[in-house]
């Protein structure tokens, strides 16, 4: 009985959290003219999605987002992994270094926006996906370093000792043993980095132009000219959260299997 009650309670709580998202999904499937209707599903159409791609170049926006988000992770990870490892294992730059990594996360992005814009304009990097990817790489680097540091600290030191007495160099031990053992953590960190870049709005708006607009910028643009096309916005939002939902499943799967299970007593 208690179980049933507690499950009912939990379902209710879930519904409260999920309702706005479900409503967005519902609105995306409803014709614009009926979008503010109070009935649950007055009609079903894929018109909004189609128009998004046909009239608004949403396909390009989506591709842009994937390129800059994936690109920034791909660029940042090979730097973040050894850096995080160095912080975790050696006394590299001590407390000050660790704090510096953390401090970058405390800076409000707006403080960086203007200097970076000036810099980019003189370098001719505005309006380019590559430029945006670089900014996201810079944003991701300290974040990934910090997360990976935690994962590397959880890898037992003796594993490297074993690899090094087995004939590996310190770097070899890192590549052949530490990295594979920390792989679930690295995958999870990569997904988090991807999400951060995916959702980023400010830099994408300032540094980009129509050609390089990412999904958040495109969604914002839908709300301007002739009012808010709420059904279309809903369709865009639904598509925008799709990768996030996939990603969170993925993170869950990898984070639950402990890092070094089975290597030690």
């Amino acid at each position: 009985m208690l179980r049933v009650l507690s499950h009912l309670g939990l379902c209710l709580a879930c519904l409260i959290v999920l309702l706005p998202i479900l409503w967005v999904l519902r609105t995306s499937l409803v014709p614009e003219s009926l979008s503010y209707s109070t009935s649950i599903l007055p009609a079903v159409t894929f018109e909004n999605y189609a128009s998004l791609f046909a009239d608004n170049r949403f396909g390009t926006n989506y591709m842009n987002s994937i390129i800059v988000a994936a690109g920034s992770v791909i660029l940042a990870m090979p730097l973040a992994a050894p850096t995080g490892y160095a912080f975790a294992r050696f006394r590299t730059s001590g407390r000050a270094g660790r704090f510096a990594v953390l401090a970058t996360q405390m800076l409000p992005p707006v403080a960086l926006a203007l200097p970076i814009f000036m810099l980019y304009r003189s370098l001719g990097l505005t309006n380019s996906l590559f430029g945006l990817t670089l900014v996201y790489t810079a944003i991701n680097l300290p974040f990934l370093t910090w997360i990976l540091m935690g994962f590397f600290e959880a890898v037992p030191r003796d594993l490297e000792g074993a690899a090094m007495t087995d004939g590996a160099t310190a770097f070899g031990a890192f590549v052949r043993v530490v990295l594979p053992v920390a792989a679930p953590g690295i995958a999870a960190a990569a997904v988090l980095g991807f999400i951060i870049s995916w959702n980023e709005f400010l830099f994408a708006l300032i540094l980009g132009g129509p050609r390089t607009a990412t999904v958040p910028v495109a969604l914002a643009a839908l709300q301007t000219s002739n009012g808010v096309e709420i059904s279309k916005v809903s369709a865009g939002v639904s598509l925008a959260i799709l990768p996030l939902m996939l990603a969170s499943r993925f993170i869950q799967k990898y984070l639950v299997q402990g890092l070094s299970f089975g290597s030690v007593k």
Partner: protein
């Protein structure tokens, strides 16, 4: 040739933690050396310094003729069995054993042959394709041993490699390791807490305490002549009985007095213990030197039986000498000994086998060979 020489080796972990202090030790080529000591005394630290996994703060380390004080682990050709096993979790048992051979560029056929042989000895055949996570603690420990064995290195460094095995497997592995050592003749350092392993496996024992080397020697020599009360108590179970006492008299007749036992020292010990005359001393007697039957030269004393641990092959009796029950001795008596708790009986102390320590420094007055 791979002897191991530590010259004034110290490990300072910083902020006042000293792992090992000024250690001098030579482990001969092909020798099986046991490291024994209480938890935290620096056994693992010493092992890790020999392996190159821990920087040596001061001092020098040589393996064979080479000074390896600053050499990388892979340049030392040592194999380590870690206290924590440290198996590669992302590799199968076979790959775990293969890793070191691969890193050294051994041909695949030779690798397979080595792994087969080791897996046979260790009973790991059925598990070769499993990941460590799917093994029991004892199986993991055997994989850790196998990974070191297949390497056939110059030096084996084993940190309590049998600690997680059940009694039967432990006895078997003990024999296997001794056989392996005979066959390969590689210098081996073996850390243990186990009395039996310490006494039976090694050519020599090195006893450590608080980062200091206390005594090195052949097992029976150390047992017969512990340098201080710490070694006397540590290297045996049950521990040596220690009783505060005084030595009085003259070179002609030395009298030992304590509130438990007073007797005249056997003549042949006079020379060894004359230095202790008039001093506060600690009298030591091993449990096996207390008997339930009279024997020549043994000193009788009365005591009550407080507890008996019947082990089948022998009986360990805890004896109380006075009513308070504070002064307790343990006695290792034959399998036929029988008594009830509370019985007051006469026991016999074979004082010819006594040990004597300075009460102030706890150092032994060396008594020479046991007759």
């Amino acid at each position: 040739m791979a002897s191991i020489t530590l010259e004034n080796v110290s490990k300072d972990y910083g902020s006042g933690v000293v792992g090992v202090r000024d250690m001098n030790l030579t482990i001969e080529d092909g020798e099986f050396m046991i490291f024994l000591g209480p938890s935290g005394c620096g056994k693992s630290t010493t092992l890790r310094m020999i392996a190159g996994l821990e920087d040596i703060s001061t001092g020098r380390l040589r393996i064979g003729e080479r000074d390896v004080t600053r050499a990388a682990p892979r340049e030392r050709n040592v194999a380590v069995v870690f206290q924590s096993y440290a198996l590669y979790p992302h590799m199968s048992v076979r790959q775990n054993m293969e890793f070191g051979l691969k890193m050294r560029g051994m041909a695949p056929a030779d690798r397979a042959a080595r792994i087969e042989a080791a897996a046979d000895i260790l009973g790991l055949q059925p598990y070769l394709n499993r990941r460590p996570a799917a093994l029991s603690g004892g199986q993991r420990q055997r994989v850790a041993l196998g990974r070191a064995m297949v390497r056939e290195p110059d030096v084996f460094l084993m940190d309590e490699p049998l600690s997680n095995l059940d009694a039967k497997l432990r006895a078997e592995m003990r024999l296997e390791l001794i056989k392996l050592h005979r066959r390969l003749g590689r210098t081996t350092v073996f850390v243990t807490h186990d009395q039996v392993e310490a006494m039976t496996m090694g050519d020599r024992i090195c006893i450590m305490r608080d980062g200091n080397l206390v005594q090195v020697g052949k097992p029976l020599e150390v047992y017969a002549n512990p340098v201080d009360t710490f070694v006397a108590q540590f290297l045996a179970s049950p521990q040596m009985n220690l009783v505060e006492a005084r030595l009085n008299g003259n070179a002609g007749a030395i009298e030992l007095t304590s509130d438990i036992l007073s007797f005249t020292l056997p003549r042949f010990l006079h020379a060894a213990f004359a230095k202790a005359l008039g001093r506060a001393v600690i009298f030591g007697l091993r449990p096996e030197d207390i008997h339930a039957e009279p024997r020549p030269g043994a000193v009788p004393f009365e005591a009550s039986v407080v507890a008996i641990e019947a082990l089948g092959m022998e009986n360990i009796a805890i004896l109380a000498l006075d009513q308070s029950g504070k002064r307790e001795l343990s006695a290792r008596l034959g399998r036929d000994f029988s008594a009830s708790i509370g019985d007051r009986l006469t026991f016999y102390a074979d004082v010819a086998r006594m040990h004597l320590f300075d009460a102030e420094t706890t150092r032994a007055f060396p008594r020479g060979r046991m007759e």
